[in-house]
Each structure stands twice: as C-alpha cells, then as structure tokens.
C-alpha cells in the first residue's frame, strides 16, 4: 500500500517483552532502505515486563516536518491490556489489526470499524516456537505495507542476527516470516481468544488436600515448580496472565508443605491439608 499512498501512520501497541520495539525497528529500517522517509517514536514505561509498549511510526515519500499524528491509518493491538494505549488513535477510518487469539473482539476500542484479526499467538504456539510470535506479526504487517520480503529478511538478520545462534533457529524464523506474509487476515469469523488468562480460580480438591490457583495473577515464573520438594507440580497447557503456562498439581504426591504458597511472588497458588 506504500506504492499508492503518500503517507502512512501506524501505531503498534503491545506489552513490554512482546517485541513491539524490535519489530518497529526492523520495519522502519526496511522502509528507509526502500527509499522512504520515516519518523519513529517509541513510548514505554519504566517496567521491564507487563505494561503497554507503544511505537508510533510515520512513513512518507517526502521529508517529514512533524513526527506526531492524531489519528493513525493502522493500529496494531497485540495484547488486551494495551487497548487503552491505542484507543486515542482509532477513528472509524482506521484499520485495526489485532491478535485474535489473545484479544477478544469485545475488548477493542468502540470507535473501530475496520477490524482485521491475526491469530499470531495461536500460530506461534501450534506451528512455531512461542518466541517467533513477533516475526509472524512482522511478516503480516510488511505484506500489508508492501515492503519487499528481501529487504525485511536482511533487516531481521541485521537486528536479530546475533540472537540466531544456530542455523535451525534462523531457518525457523525465516519460515515464521514467510508464513506471516501468507496469512489471510480474518474479517468475519474471528478466532476465539483462547490464549487469554481465565479470571476464575482453579480449585484443587482430593487426597485430604485442598487449594486454589489464580491464573489471572500467575506469570509463569516456575518458582513453585523449582521449589516443590516432591515434584508434584508441573506446567500445564492452560495459560496465565502473560500467556505463559500455569502449573498443575499432582495431589497424590503433594505433601501440602506450603512451599509454593510461601515462594510464589504473585500470591497465586496455595495448597493445604483439610482440617
């Protein structure tokens, strides 16, 4: 679309740690290589993880006098907690692209009309490594913006090259990029937001023990699993608040020592004996 429009404004929103600023960097560098003028403004908080991270990008064929914009042409929302950060930039003409496997349609800004779903988390979990999530988004975005695949892959290697320690990781990322470029955006039937954390507590009961686990607070650090003296805890397939796996308990082996409760930094797990 860069070929027939003169100026495009794009707002990428997600959560710290998802790789928003990394894909923004790759995107703008590839656009500069293709001969465009670019303005890029990263906005993020002091936290290392878990709060909205926003990238405002303007791409134009003429020199840019002013880098800010009020309404974006494209808004990308990759996490439901980042919706509030994107709301301001959405008008009825804006095209809203969202990760339909973590953000449900009802969470989107009320002013959004053109919505396009991209189940990137689901694709990453089912077909690639969960960490290649942002490369899939990058592939889909660059296809939408008509930036040639060759430019993008060179830029990916330049920015992320050091992290690709083996040829296999490099190939997996190339596959993810190509897959992302071939993804068809969902416009009517959206994938259910299955990777969103459940609000209800998981209740454990049996073997004279009871307890609870709150997926809405569990960040999947794995301390409870590392500190369990009998190995009764392991990761399950359900997901917590940062889309990381939550623990499950083998109550038969559990001795209700209370280690998981004492160590959990997020106060999300507790198991004890029935009195």
């Amino acid at each position: 679309m860069l070929s027939n429009t003169k100026k495009i404004s794009l707002t990428l929103t997600g959560e710290g740690g998802q790789g928003i600023q990394t894909i923004a960097k790759i995107l703008i560098n590839a656009a500069v290589d293709a001969g465009f003028e670019v303005a890029y403004m990263p906005v993020f908080g002091v936290e290392q993880r878990g709060t909205p991270s926003v990238a405002h990008i303007t791409i134009s064929d003429k020199p840019l006098r002013y880098p800010k914009f009020d309404i974006a042409d494209y808004v990308v929302i990759l996490q439901s907690r980042a919706v509030t950060a994107a709301e301001k930039y959405v008008s009825p003409n804006t095209k809203v692209i969202f990760d339909s496997s973590t953000v449900s349609v009802s969470d989107l800004p009320k002013t959004s009309v053109h919505i396009m779903g991209l189940p990137a988390t689901k694709i990453a979990y089912e077909q690639f490594n969960p960490r290649s999530f942002n490369i899939i988004v990058l592939g889909a975005l660059t296809k939408l913006l008509d930036i040639p695949e060759k430019n993008i892959w060179q830029m990916v290697l330049k920015v992320l090259g050091k992290k690709f320690k083996t040829k296999e990781i490099e190939k997996a990322n190339n596959d993810a990029l190509l897959y992302g470029r071939d993804v068809v955006f969902e416009t009517k039937d959206f994938t259910k937001a299955i990777f969103k954390a459940k609000h209800k507590a998981v209740i454990f009961k049996g073997h004279n023990k009871h307890g609870e686990l709150l997926p809405g607070r569990c960040k999947g650090c794995g301390i409870c699993i590392a500190k369990c003296p009998v190995g009764a805890l392991s990761f399950s397939s359900d997901l917590g608040v940062y889309a990381t796996p939550i623990p499950q308990v083998d109550l038969e082996r559990c001795i209700a020592c209370g280690n998981c409760r004492n160590y959990c930094p997020d106060s999300s797990i507790s198991i004890e004996k029935d009195s």
Partner: protein
C-alpha cells in the same frame, strides 16, 4: 484456610508490575504477612525509592511515599520525627541504598533513627537493564561486564558489615535471603518490632533474584542465589561493641 494473599496487599493492583519471578514479589509478600501479624496496617507508612522498588507504588493498601533516588531513608526519618506513633518503612534496592543513598542510610544508623530499612539486593541495576552495581560479586556477569566483574572494580559491597561499625547497640541488623521465605518474614517482623518497642534503627538486607536480567529460569536463579549466599553470609549481624573512633 490460610490466606493466599496478605490482607495488607491492595488486590485491585494485582497482578503487580514486577517481572515474572521477581524477588521483590517474595519480599513484599512476606513484608505483607509481617504487617498482618503485627496488626500495624493502619499505622504504617511505606517509603519507596527509584529503581525497581518504585513499582510498589500501589502495591499495599497502606500509605506510600515515593521519594527521590537514594533519599528514602531521610524522608522516612523526617516523617517519623513528626509522627512518632507511625511505623516507617524505607524500602529500596541495592542501588538506592549502597550507591547513591549510602550516606543517608549510614547517618540514619549513626543517629539511631527509629526507621526500618529493607534493602533488596539482586547484585545489579535491574530497572535500567542489569548493569554492574557495587554489590556485583567479583567475576559475576552483568550487562556492562559480560566477562565477569573485573578485580579493579572492587569486591562485592557488604552493607550490614559496614553499618554495624557505627550503629547503636539497640539496632537490629540482619541479612536474609528470598530462598528462605519464613526466615525472611521473621526477620522483617523482628525489625518492625525493634522500631516499635525499642525505638531504634533496624536494617534488613534481602538477597534476591532477578530472572529477567540474569537471563535464567527459576532453578538456575536459585543456584546463583546460593552462590551469592556463600559470598554474603546470612544471619543477624551483631553491632560492634567497641566504638572508639565514634564516641
């Protein structure tokens, strides 16, 4: 049933802002339980520093003061001077307590000001990306010393051992670790009681983990923490009795 979360925690602000697996979460949880057990929630004031510790701004359902970098101790000392019936907790990281704010901590200990200082030591400047700190052990890897901390930058900073030389006899100084949460809770409880009953200074250093900047999983984090515990010995650090230079 035992409470999954301390009463003094503010449930609306959870999940909190710390990284997954952060030692601050474990420390603040045990601090919350200690406050619950002493029943001082309505008369406690919590002062936080710049650094990762500032992410606790809405953590507790108690009055919280955000102070300048390294100036948490003097702000809480001033607060305690005006409101002697309140319980003042100064919460900081190793950057705020041992680097920029060392003089404040030392003088509060020297004057025996009745505040409780809780210092969380994870051996790096975590909020800015894990740079080398005074508490980084020799040979330990951080972002600005990828081949280990060089010898010319000195040894790891042992704060409690320094403070004990000038502290009052009534002061309570200890070093605990997040690998032993119940010991941590009892130390925090004792430190708060020392402030309330003895009207004296108390200092708790908590050895902590930083999975994000150490780039490790839970198991590796705790094995690195046990190496840290070997370098920084745990337990109560008794105040030096002979203080010829001071008095």
């Amino acid at each position: 049933m035992e409470k999954i979360m301390p009463n003094s925690w503010r449930s609306q602000s959870k999940p909190h802002l710390f990284c997954p697996g952060c030692g601050h979460g474990i420390t603040l949880k045990q601090l919350g339980f200690a406050i619950d057990e002493l029943k001082i929630q309505d008369k406690t004031t919590f002062g936080i520093d710049i650094g990762c510790s500032l992410l606790a701004w809405n953590f507790f359902d108690i009055d919280t003061i955000q102070t300048h970098h390294g100036r948490t101790t003097p702000v809480m000392v001033g607060y305690k001077t005006l409101k002697p019936k309140r319980v003042a907790i100064a919460y900081m990281g190793d950057g705020g307590g041992y680097a920029i704010g060392l003089q404040s901590v030392l003088h509060a200990a020297f004057r025996n000001n009745p505040v409780t200082v809780v210092l969380v030591n994870n051996g790096n400047y975590a909020m800015t990306g894990g740079q080398m700190a005074p508490t980084t052990r020799p040979g330990e890897i951080a972002a600005t010393c990828p081949e280990g901390k060089p010898e010319e930058y000195g040894a790891g900073f042992k704060g409690p051992e320094l403070i004990r030389n000038i502290a009052n006899d009534k002061a309570f100084i200890t070093r605990v670790s997040v690998s032993k949460p119940l010991v941590l809770k009892n130390a925090l409880k004792k430190a708060l009681e020392n402030q309330i009953k003895n009207n004296s200074f108390s200092f708790v250093e908590v050895l902590s983990i930083c999975p994000t900047n150490w780039k490790m999983n839970a198991k590796q984090c705790f094995s690195r923490l046990s190496e840290m515990e070997d370098y920084y010995p745990l337990g109560e650090i008794l105040v030096q009795k002979e203080k010829k230079n001071v008095e």
